[in-house]
Structure formats: structure tokens, C-alpha cells
Symmetry: C2
Subunit: 208 residues, 2 copies
Amino acid sequence: MIPLVNSSGSTKERILGAAEVLFAQRGFDGASLRQLTAAAGVNLAAVNYHFGSKEKLVEQVFRRRLDALNERRLTALAKVAGADGTTLEDVLAAYIRPALELSHDDNGSLFMRVLARAFAEHDDSLRQFLSENYGHVMRQFTAEFARLLPQLSKQELYWRIDLVTGALTHAMSGFGMIQRKSDVSEHAHREQTAQHLIRFAVAGLSHP
Amino acid sequence: MIPLVNSSGSTKERILGAAEVLFAQRGFDGASLRQLTAAAGVNLAAVNYHFGSKEKLVEQVFRRRLDALNERRLTALAKVAGADGTTLEDVLAAYIRPALELSHDDNGSLFMRVLARAFAEHDDSLRQFLSENYGHVMRQFTAEFARLLPQLSKQELYWRIDLVTGALTHAMSGFGMIQRKSDVSEHAHREQTAQHLIRFAVAGLSHP
DNA sequence: GGCCGGTTCAAACGATCGTTTGAGCATACG
DNA sequence: CGTATGCTCAAACGATCGTTTGAACCGGCC
């Protein structure tokens, strides 16, 4: 007894890593626990032992990345929100840059694909999980967008945010996949991508 | 023998209709042939008899809508492409309006969800099918965008088209789901949606 | 040593999957 | 009439699914 706060260590992490890859490749239904545990090099029963069920595993795959990702987004947002000289670029950078920096991690860029899949799923349970746990993030960003775009009606603003979200989710799910030219550093490539996304989003949000 | 050109009639159509609904709701893997045939009111074996396999059925679900949809897109594009006074709005309307008009049909609006799912799938076989059969549509639109936006580099143009496509696919997959106020006619609602999407896309494509 | 909680393991559970089979039915044609 | 053809149907096929089981292994602690 007296388990350490995180009793796991290796097996849980290996499962989460393999799950991320396979969910991105084959989807939540398409990836079986047998493929998954084989790829992770652990026993089949380990998933139900450590996570309880496949559905709980899916939730943990999201939690592992989204907790840190959205915390970084909110931290970046807090630095500019409500201030006087703040621009749309600042707010959008707070949203976009932490996501692009995921590609630093092992398979972090693959996670954006998993997220894009969840986006396309109109399944209730998964959407409810994401809404309950991370809905406040989008709410805070929306509030700041509303402050910077006072000329837009609420309805108009929601439309534009929805369209921007769709564009960014789609684009970032492909990031890391496009072959970067070898004479461009990864940092430069990411910076270039960030600029594309931010400028596009600014135009989409603020056009007359 | 001597089958009529369309020997089917009812059973094939019923299967396609039920498949569209269930694929939109639960995904290609998540919807089973048993649920599907039960919803269609046909025998389980009818799918393999009429379509050969589940994968072929998926292709036919796409074909049934995309053949007509993309033909209408290209017809509308042909009316404005290459002409002198043509604007970005014209070209985008040719792409967007036929898709929104799908909501006229029984479950046409659900089909956009199916399409959004295929978009999120990075599965090779499905992407290859769509690319082989409908890649020329996006190619023609891209050519016209390039003509109207000569100041953009090829790379820059592709970026923007990719982002716009992501936004439109996402937005249209939700069209028909948002509750339309009863005092707004369906035609007015669709027209309003079209204006939102077109103006957003124009801004995203043509910003400096 | 002996026990114990945490973890791994092979094996099996029942359920459900896509697909196939072969008989039965209907309609059209010689 | 008899035969052939397109289609439907209940039933079964083997495979694979998520999950459960109970034994085996492991470290640390009395």
C-alpha cells in the first residue's frame, strides 16, 4: 500500500505513448487494445488494470497533453489579456504557439491529429469530456477576442471563432507531417508556420 | 439477365441512406453492418450482395453525393473562371453554395459530417480514393485562385487554401445541426451562412 | 523466512464483427 | 409449363473485439 503519488512509471507511459500513435493513425475504434499493447510491449490486460477501460484510456491520452498545453495557453494569455497595447496577434500567438511547440516532444505532433479526430467526432461522451475539462480555456480566449473586437456582434464573433478553430485544428493536425526542407531548422520551420496561422487567423477574425 | 441500368431501386438506396446517417453519427468503423441494415430495414447480407464489401459501400456513399456536388461546383466555376470581372467571392461561392444546398436533400446535411470525418482520417486508402476521383476539382479551383491572387507565391497560396478548406469543412459539417430560429426561412438561413463563409474565406485568402 | 500489496502474465469469457453459404422466393422468357 | 435470373433471407463461418480471471512474480516489511 502507501502507493507513491504516481505509482506507475513505465508501463502506463508506454501504453499512453503507443495509444497516441495508434489513435492518430487508425482512430479510436480502429486501434485495438491488442495492437496497442503489442506496440507498447506490455501485456493485454495492462490497459484495463491501469486505466479501467479503453474509454478511460482515451481520456487519459487527452489529459496527458491537454493539461499542460492549455495551462501554457492560459499562462500566455494572462500575460496579454486585458492590457492596453494587446493585439489580436498576441492573443492568437498565446493559443497557437504552445500547440506547435508540442512537436518538440516525442510524438507530440501526432497528438494534434488525435485532437482533430475528436473534433470531427460528434460523439457525445467524448465531446462532453472535452467540454467539461477544457471548455473554460476557449471561454477565456473568446472573452479576450470580444474585448479586442468590440464592433462584432456576439453571433458574428462566434461564427468567426468557429471558422478559425476549424482552420487551425486542421492545419495543426498536419504539422510535423509535411517534410521540412533540410536547410531549414526546426525552429525556423515552426516559426514560419506560426506566422502563417496567426496572420490567417487575424484576417479571418478582423475583416470588416 | 439484361438488368436495367439501375436494377436496384429500393434496397440499395435504403442502405446508402442509412449508411450516411450512421457513418456521420458513429464513424466508418463505429457503425456496424448489423446496425446499418437494421436501420435500413434490409437483410444483413444485402450489403455484401449489392456492394461487395463494407469498404465499397463507403466509397459509394461518397460517390452518391460527391459526383453531383462536384459537378455543380465545376459548372458554377466554369461560369466565372478566366473571365475579366471575376472576384474571389464568385469563385468561393461556386465552391460553397452547392455544398450548402445539399441540406435540401433528406440527409444531405449529414453528408458533410461524413466528409469531415474522412478529412480527419489520415487513412491511406480512403484519401487515395477521394484524391483519385475528386482531386481534379480542387486543382481547378486552385488554378483560378492562383489567377486571382498573382501576388502570392505558390507556397503561400497552398497554405491559405489549406486553411480555408479546413475552416469550411469544419463549419459545413455543423451546418444543419445548429437550431435555426423559426422566424428565419431555411433559404435565408442558408444565404446568411453562405455570406459568413464566403467573407471569411475571402479575408483568409487575400489578406496582405 | 513468511506474508502482502502491486504488478504482470497466459488464458479464457461472451459479444460482436464482416463475410459467406445455400435454400427460398419472385418474376420474366423460351 | 419449366427453367433461368435477380434478389432476399436465416443461419452460420472464423476472426477479432474489450474485458475478466486466477495464478505467478516481485519488492519491501514485520
